[in-house]
Amino acid sequence: MRRSRVPGRVLQALVAVFLYAPILVLIFFSFNSDKSRVSFKGFTLDWYKRLFENEQVLSALSLTLILALLSALIATVIGTVSAVGIYNMKKRPRKILLALNNVPVVNPDIITGVSLMLVFVLFVTFLRSLGVGAGLGFTTLLIAHVTFNIPYVILSVLPKLRQLNKNTYEAALDLGANPLRAYMRVILPEIMPGVVSGAIIAFTMSIDDFLISYFTTGTSVQTLPMRIYSMTRKRVSPEINALSTLMFVTVLALLIIINILQARDQKKKERRL
């Protein structure tokens, strides 16, 4: 394995250029004093100022974060409990449940979105026929997000359950702990990494989702991706570039901080050894 690393490096560099050129273009034009997307007329920070004054974008941002947080939380609780349940099931029902669980994962997002919309609209129509004013909105959006998040939680908790040493749990029971207590004290800590990574995946999926939200939201409840979509359907304002730049910088900064923290952590561990 002592072959030259040059071709690999060249490939990596080329892909990096491919991946980042468009993003750099976005960033560059966020400082353009002209509205044009293709010719640079002068430096300005106006678009950033406008972005922070744009209430629609700000409320969409907070909605997106609240939605992601709530849906990830609910999905993690339901998902973890269900994973334990599924793990304890007999083979036959377990297989059926896992197959169903996989449906939102495998299905194209647009179909998940459309099919949920059909159910929600049916439900809303039913409520309206009872005289209850109802419509698609935050609640349906939340249900949709929880629905597509749970499977990811289950799929990341299950492998941890399989790795579990059953004896410790039974030992705890033998020592007189009730099942709930034994579960909380013995099993939960062991599957925790799976739970946390499930929660993270759920949160990210929810933040990034456009398609399913597009079909399951109603009157004026718009997540950030939906706001961006409607911005691209109109006369485009460089505010969108400013928004991309801010997102990019935020993620970049977080990743760098994490890396530094991690490196420090590792050093500490090494020292301890």
Partner: protein, 358 residues
Amino acid sequence: MKKNVIILIAALLLLAGCQSATPAQGTQTDNAQSGGGTQVSGDVYVFNWGEYMDEELNNAFGEATGIQVHYSTYQNNEMLYSTLMGGGSNYDVIIPSDYMISRMIEEDMLLTLDFANIPNFANIDADLKNPAYDPENLYSVPYAWGTVGIIYDTARVSEPVDSWGALFDERYSGEILMFDNPRDAFGIALKLLGHSFNTTNEAELRGAYDLMVTQKPLVQGYVMDQIFDKMENGEAILAPYYAGDAITMMETNEDLAFVFPKEGTNIFVDAFCIPKGAANKTAAEKYIDYMCSYEAGLANIDFTGYSTPLIDVYESLDDEVKNDGISYPEDMTGFETFTNLPGWVNDLYAELWTDLRK
């Protein structure tokens, strides 16, 4: 790697915490959550065309009345119809065009308005009251009217443009934009073939479809509001569009010009309506009334470039605007409105439109 992500998320969560602590944003989501029904807090959900209102007015209305406006946009009448039919939405104010209003009346999708709450209705031009699409004027209050024509780049056309035929000219292959909605798009082909916009003759419609199919290879894209960027930046040479928006584009790009094709064109009215299921009808009527006030009307016409139905706004306009030949054309022979079509023709439109785009 996983650990990286975990910490990243933790940080993001923190961020989320800060965000949701802001009170204004908090209340907005609360309103959203309650969905409709029992709103007494005074929210009004407005659904309008894109690029079709001075949105500052929504804030001004909110400050003046305490009614918070939630504003979102759609791209064409048919999308509005789909959203109302299948989207489980509950908007309070919508602004469809004439033919769509009459379709919605026919399909029982609108509420009758209480004109006692809309005193500014008196200010609407008498010619626009009791229109054919709403003969007893029970459901609608005109917002703006306008016409359709061709907007083109004078520097890059080979000869003066005066016919819809220019949009089918192979010399402009790849430089033509087309309407992204069935009525407006088919209307052009129908007029070019010498038919009425409102034909219910299947052969005529299929003929228009065939013409559109031959045009498709020449078309750069089917667009609605994306047209602003494309024409202003010289991405395309020719496009049919609404006169008001053409005026707006011409302000940015001096090479652009606008013409009413000789075969005749569409004249339309867009009007405020309140759809069934609206939770806050009184607030909606207040909103409509506000938008018919002199100040709001003037601001909107100024922003959109469309033609005003408000008498006092029209009277206050400069002669330059009144006589620009676009907003308030002198000679309107050959101008035709869209009317609502029988169900089977609407279905045929949908079918042919999907076929064209496939």
